[in-house]
């Protein structure tokens, strides 16, 4: 394929304008350790994480920057923790709209409410709402800052991958630019090129799953309104703008509105401004002035690839798995994919771990994708019942929920993204801390807690870490070329609740993505070494 480059969408910020690269004039295809395909949230996080770890990274994108439309808007606590470690979290938190409360209505009645983070003592809230445009922009700015301090992350705009030739020890591929094609090689190719992944198609790999027969209209409207910063969701809303509706605040006076339209619709007709306005007017009332910022109609599918690691090509984010938007499990799970693969690839590229370490990425992120697909499918089945009897039960739940508390937990307008706990997969030992809290068991991401002027997670990550709570751990040692550092803490009430439970002291082994590998009541060098080696498959 050597078709000229075409714009699939308009660009709002030209973050990486096309520049001729020396690779285009090389006599032989240039070889790179890591090439990332796709400059969305997942590609940017992958490139930034690997670049900060000292690797030379090239990211290829067929556009020159961020697309239009807010698209993903709900970014989870775990995503913010990851971005904070990468130096982009503060801007996100400053700009984002913080929320943790959701309210669900049926017709006019409130039937259910939830609070996602009822606990204090975390740097990051349960969620922020932020436009994907800003999310990507902040990551690109963090990449520029990292490069200013010596990182080597190169973003190549208007570089489209057209053909992929996988080899045993790498990947060779063709790239199209405005000045014609060139060839490149990479030890590892990370495909973050979205749900319609061209790389996946080029390799002839399947992407099977369920299609949901429903259409949703997104309208981002700009208005000044004093609705609270909560997620409001209606089933069968009294204003009749859709079978369901959602209202959620974003920064800069933008409100995300979502209407469920049904299956047999005329997309073009529905997207006409007058028709969109009629639905929004019915919801907001005739006196509210607003401007339509962005509209779109989407359908969705729940599906994943059989395996996310295909030799030296690794799929991450929507290219590997796709879910419905109810639950904010798309971008958030993709960012966790990126973090999961980055530390593994770091060890592999540095030659201190074998290629098989990437199989752990496959196992863990397939498990996470299945969990996300399950939750997303359940929510979607509740929103769009697929049979008459499913609809009858759904309506019965909604009917009972107004008067009876027992039915409210059955109401499902999306179960929001929480990180997957990998503990039952290979590489995680048995939980050796008797009485330890469930939330910090092996496989779980470390819960945050206040520490001094900052937070516990500030001091954890990037390498293997021992955390001694009321217990001795060594300051630092080297194991087979891998640096292990230690941090000793006296437990306060928060640390006790989150890490000790009924135990008096504990030692945690934490891997570079802040997930717990193992925990014990006391330090034992032998146990720690065995746990690290087992985890790295030695």
């Amino acid at each position: 394929m050597t078709a000229p480059l075409t714009d699939r969408y308009a660009v709002t910020h030209r973050l990486y304008p096309y520049r001729r690269s020396a690779d285009q004039d090389a006599a032989e295809p240039a070889r790179h350790p890591v090439v990332v395909v796709g400059g969305g949230p997942v590609g940017l996080v992958t490139a930034l994480d690997l670049g900060l770890k000292g690797h030379r990274v090239v990211l290829l994108d067929d556009h020159e920057g961020v697309g239009t439309g807010s698209r993903a808007i709900c970014f989870s606590k775990r995503t913010l923790e990851i971005c904070h470690r990468l130096g982009a979290g503060e801007q996100m938190l400053d700009k984002g709209v913080v929320w943790s409360r959701g309210r669900v209505f049926h017709d006019r009645d409130e039937i259910y409410a939830f609070d996602l983070l009822p606990e204090a003592g975390h740097r990051h809230p349960a969620f922020i709402n932020l436009s994907q445009i800003d999310f990507e922009r902040f990551l690109a700015e963090a990449i520029a800052r990292a490069n200013a301090e010596g990182a080597q992350i190169e973003l190549r705009g208007r570089n489209r991958v057209d053909a992929v030739d996988p080899r045993a020890d790498g990947v060779s591929f063709d790239v199209m630019t405005p000045e014609g094609p060139y060839q490149m090689e990479a030890d590892w190719l990370i495909a973050c090129d979205g749900a319609r992944s061209p790389v996946r198609d080029m390799l002839g790999l399947g992407f099977e799953g369920r299609v949901f027969e429903d259409n949703f209209l997104i309208a981002d409207v700009r208005m000044t309104a004093d609705f609270p910063t909560e997620r409001w969701f209606w089933f069968e809303p009294w204003f009749k703008s859709g079978a369901s509706a959602l209202l959620h605040k974003q920064p800069d006076d933008i409100w995300r509105i979502d209407f469920q339209l049904g299956w047999d619709i005329d997309r073009e007709e529905e997207l006409k401004e007058d028709n969109v306005r009629a639905r929004v007017d019915a919801m907001l009332g005739p006196d509210v002035a607003y401007k339509l910022d962005w509209t779109s109609i989407y359908t969705f599918q729940c599906r994943r690839m059989d395996a996310f690691v295909q030799g030296r090509v690794v799929f991450a984010g929507d290219s590997a798995h796709q879910v419905s938007p109810f639950g904010a499990r798309g971008a958030n799970s993709g960012v966790q994919d990126a973090e999961n693969l980055a530390w593994r690839l770091d060890l592999i590229l540095r030659g201190v771990a074998g290629e098989t370490l990437m199989q752990g990425y496959n196992r863990e992120r397939v498990m996470a994708a299945d969990e996300n697909i399950l939750n997303s499918t359940r929510a979607t089945d509740f929103l769009t019942p697929k049979s008459a009897v499913s609809r009858t039960f759904r309506d019965a739940v909604l009917h009972l929920a107004s008067d009876h508390a027992f039915a409210r937990p059955l109401v499902n307008s999306g179960r929001l993204s929480v990180p997957c706990v990998y503990g039952r997969l290979p590489g995680f030992g048995a939980d050796a801390l008797e009485g330890g809290p469930d939330r910090s068991r092996p496989g779980a991401p470390c819960p945050d807690a206040p520490r001094g002027e900052g937070y516990l997670l500030d001091g954890i990550g990037d390498g293997f870490q021992l955390l001694g709570i009321n217990a001795f751990v060594p300051d630092a040692f080297d194991l087979d070329g891998i640096a292990v550092t230690g941090l000793q803490l006296e437990a306060d009430a928060d640390i006790k609740a989150r890490y000790l439970g009924v135990a008096d002291h504990a030692v945690y082994l934490i891997r570079p993505d802040q997930h717990v590998v193992a925990r014990w009541p006391v330090y034992s060098a032998e146990a720690v070494i065995a746990a690290i080696r087992a985890h790295l498959g030695r």
């Binding site: 009897v389 009858t392 039960f393 309506d395 019965a396 739940v397 009917h399 009972l400 009876h404 027992f406 039915a407 059955l410």
Partner: protein, 62 residues
């Protein structure tokens, strides 16, 4: 909590009569909706996941 499959209803004839009576005057859709509400109410009374799954299996004729 094991699923009870031995007689446990206090007044079998009385309950059966009340159940059928409750559907009187309802069309098929209304009856289906009524049954769905009733199942949800009774399921909440049982609560235990294992027992509920055993009940689903028994109803399937397994």
């Amino acid at each position: 909590m094991a699923l009870v499959l031995t007689p446990n209803i206090d007044n079998p004839d009385g309950f059966y009569d009340a159940l059928v009576q409750a559907h009187e005057g309802l069309n098929a859709d209304e009856s289906a909706a009524f049954n769905a509400r009733l199942i949800l109410i009774l399921a909440n009374q049982v609560g235990n996941e294992e027992t509920l799954r055993a009940a689903l299996k028994t109803a399937q004729g397994a």
